[in-house]
């Protein structure tokens, strides 16, 4: 077992406060929101935090704890579902509050079988993971979902909350929150400067992600470990430790869940 949980023990989790997620491929009917390509910070939050978000000055984003959050991830239990023609409206709770999540019908972008399989699994009393934008409608904050899927391994529930805590705690340790840089600035970041302090194994693992994890989902960490061990002639623990450092230094960010990561260097 894990025993007690200290701040050090949480060091392996993704610092999603500084990470970025590339533009999701799914388009949304009735909502052509301008998304800065390849530059969307994804922040894990509790529903209580989402409900307390305030609109930012630009009128598009929202602020949580004084920082802009273009995208959020929540994990919640389905209280009820309202199926309409062009969208499904889920009401989710995670013990901290209840929030409405809108999922637009994308019959063109995903095989109908997969979509209906997912819907069947996302019934009341089941847990789901949502990634999306915060919106405000009628004075209340809601989520417009890019991606919504049933939770399969419920340890994801625990890990999501621990990651919320970790991102919050780590943010407090920094003297000031880094301002959301302009998209052009992020695209132009000089990778050589950023990774000047990486060890040989860390550089190799990061290159592996750059070369093999170019899709939106990035790579599954178990896949990376099993391939990099023979490739770099090192142990699984070495690869895992390298990935942990790359995450905490902001070279990798988590995409779908805690097991999937993508390099911030790649497109």
């Amino acid at each position: 077992g894990y025993g007690g949980y200290s701040d050090e023990a949480m060091g392996g989790m993704a610092d999603t406060g500084g990470g970025f997620m590339s533009q999701p491929s799914a388009s949304q009917e009735g909502e052509r929101r301008k998304v800065a390509r390849g530059t969307q910070a994804l922040v894990p939050v509790t529903i209580r935090m989402a409900l307390g978000a305030a609109p930012a000055e630009d009128g598009e984003n929202f602020m949580i704890e004084g920082r802009e959050v273009p995208q959020v991830r929540v994990v919640g239990n389905v209280l009820r579902v309202d199926q309409k023609e062009t969208k499904s409206i889920y009401c989710l709770e995670d013990s901290t509050g209840a929030i409405e999540v809108t999922q637009w019908v994308n019959s063109g972008d995903e095989e109908l079988q997969t979509l209906s399989d997912r819907k069947l699994k996302m019934q009341p009393k089941t847990y789901v993971t949502v990634v999306g934008h915060l919106k405000q409608f009628d004075g209340k904050v809601t989520i417009s979902a890019y991606d919504m899927r049933p939770v399969e391994d419920h340890n994801e529930l625990t890990h999501h909350f621990l990651e919320v805590i970790y991102v919050h705690a780590k943010k407090d340790q920094q003297p000031s929150w880094q301002p959301n840089p302009a998209p052009a600035a992020i695209m132009d970041v000089d990778a050589a400067n950023d990774d000047g302090n990486l060890t040989s194994i860390q550089r190799k693992v990061l290159d592996y992600y750059n070369q093999n994890g170019t899709g939106d989902e990035g790579l599954n960490i178990n896949f990376v470990i099993s391939n990099c061990c023979p490739l770099f002639n090192c142990s699984a623990a070495d690869v895992k430790a390298a990935v942990d450092v790359l995450i905490s230094e902001g070279h990798l960010y988590s995409t779908l869940d805690d097991d999937h990561h993508k390099s911030t260097d790649s497109d």
């Binding site: 025993g3 209280l79 709770e93 995670d94 013990s95 929030i99 009393k125 621990l162």
Partner: protein
């Protein structure tokens, strides 16, 4: 007072903390079913469950109302699967009710 089905709010606690909650308050507990109607929560405490929606076996999350210090009336039961790590979850419960409570409750 608005119901759980409207507010989505419940106290994410363990068996030991149930004693500190007010009667009738909405709580959220994770535990392993040890015998019909009995779960052992993440901190090793045994609690009795009452209601229609009783779990059969395995690790479950129960949202319900406190009847007394050792008994909860169930409102919603969700299976967490046999692979669910209750030890890590217990660590989370400590944080939720301690230093980071503001992220989770009013």
């Amino acid at each position: 007072m608005a119901s759980f089905f409207e507010t989505g709010e419940s106290a994410r606690i363990n068996g030991g903390l149930l004693g500190t909650m007010g009667e009738g308050s909405t709580v959220c507990l994770a535990g392993r079913v040890t015998s019909p109607g009995i779960i052992q929560t993440s901190d090793g405490v045994e609690l009795r469950l009452e209601g229609d929606d009783l779990p059969g076996s395995g690790v479950v999350e129960v949202v319900g109302t406190k009847l007394n210090g050792t008994c909860v009336k169930t409102m919603r039961v969700t299976s967490l699967g046999d692979d669910f790590d209750l030890a890590v979850y217990e660590g989370l419960v400590q944080h939720v009710n301690g230093k980071y409570r503001d992220l989770f409750s009013a």
